[in-house]
Symmetry: C2
Subunit: 142 residues, 2 copies
């Protein structure tokens, strides 16, 4: 996988060593499209027999987020979820308040309006958080 090259280059660029733990954490986040929290990643690695610690998980995720390999998601319940950026396309999230299901969406119109709002107030837009909370079809039935 040539993606591992990119990972190595990022650590090189940051003046950081390329270690087994860092690679494993990156692989774990890339292994699914789920939105997982740090504790989950930590325990999955532990269960899989990979030696690691919370400190290393958090430290590595910090580097990955800073370098845009992973996205941190704050859905307001006090802990971040992380998603890989393998698919590259930007999107926001629609969260079911009943079952926690997370659906990704993209609305170009909204994206443009955001730029407009920032311009109107003299801001240079850096990033945005846009999350819709509602009840999904299945949960509405229950």
């Amino acid at each position: 996988m040539e993606k591992i090259q990119e990972l190595q280059e990022i650590f090189l660029k940051e003046g950081l060593r390329y270690t087994k733990q860092r690679e494993t954490i990156w692989q774990e986040i890339n292994s699914s499209t789920e939105h997982r929290d740090a504790e989950d990643i930590y325990f999955t690695l532990k269960t899989r027999g990979v030696a690691t610690s919370r400190a290393t998980v958090y430290r590595t995720i910090e580097v990955l987020v800073r370098n845009n390999l992973v996205r941190a998601l704050n859905i307001g319940d006090g802990r971040y979820r992380y998603e890989n950026k393998l698919d590259q396309t930007h999107h926001d999230h629609l969260v079911c308040t009943e079952c926690g299901k997370i659906i990704e969406f993209l609305n170009e119109n909204v994206e443009q309006q955001q730029e407009q709002v920032a311009r109107d107030h003299g801001f240079t837009l850096v990033r945005h958080i846009h999350q819709l909370f509602g009840v999904c079809e299945e949960c509405q039935k229950n």
Copy 2:
């Protein structure tokens, strides 16, 4: 102020007693248009000589938020800010990542698109978080 009547009715409706602490906390949040955190509200009351505790502040804010008298704002730095809803109009927030300034904005187009996105995925929209992060005009100069 007839707003206090509404406050009393809400506590009545919830089967809660109307106490000096609860009224004072509500007044404190209504006393400015700032976006303040719980600790700030707690200390301001303390400084003003009003006996209270963190527990009471948090418990009261919970009731106020639930009853739509106060809005909780999660700007991603680990602690909620609270704003009063005296002006009634819905808005979202544009936050300066340098100086922390918070500007309120409303974009009808975006509001409509949000409803559309929810519909498209079979969701019933309950609420949303929409925050733009950027650098304000003053901070760009520095």
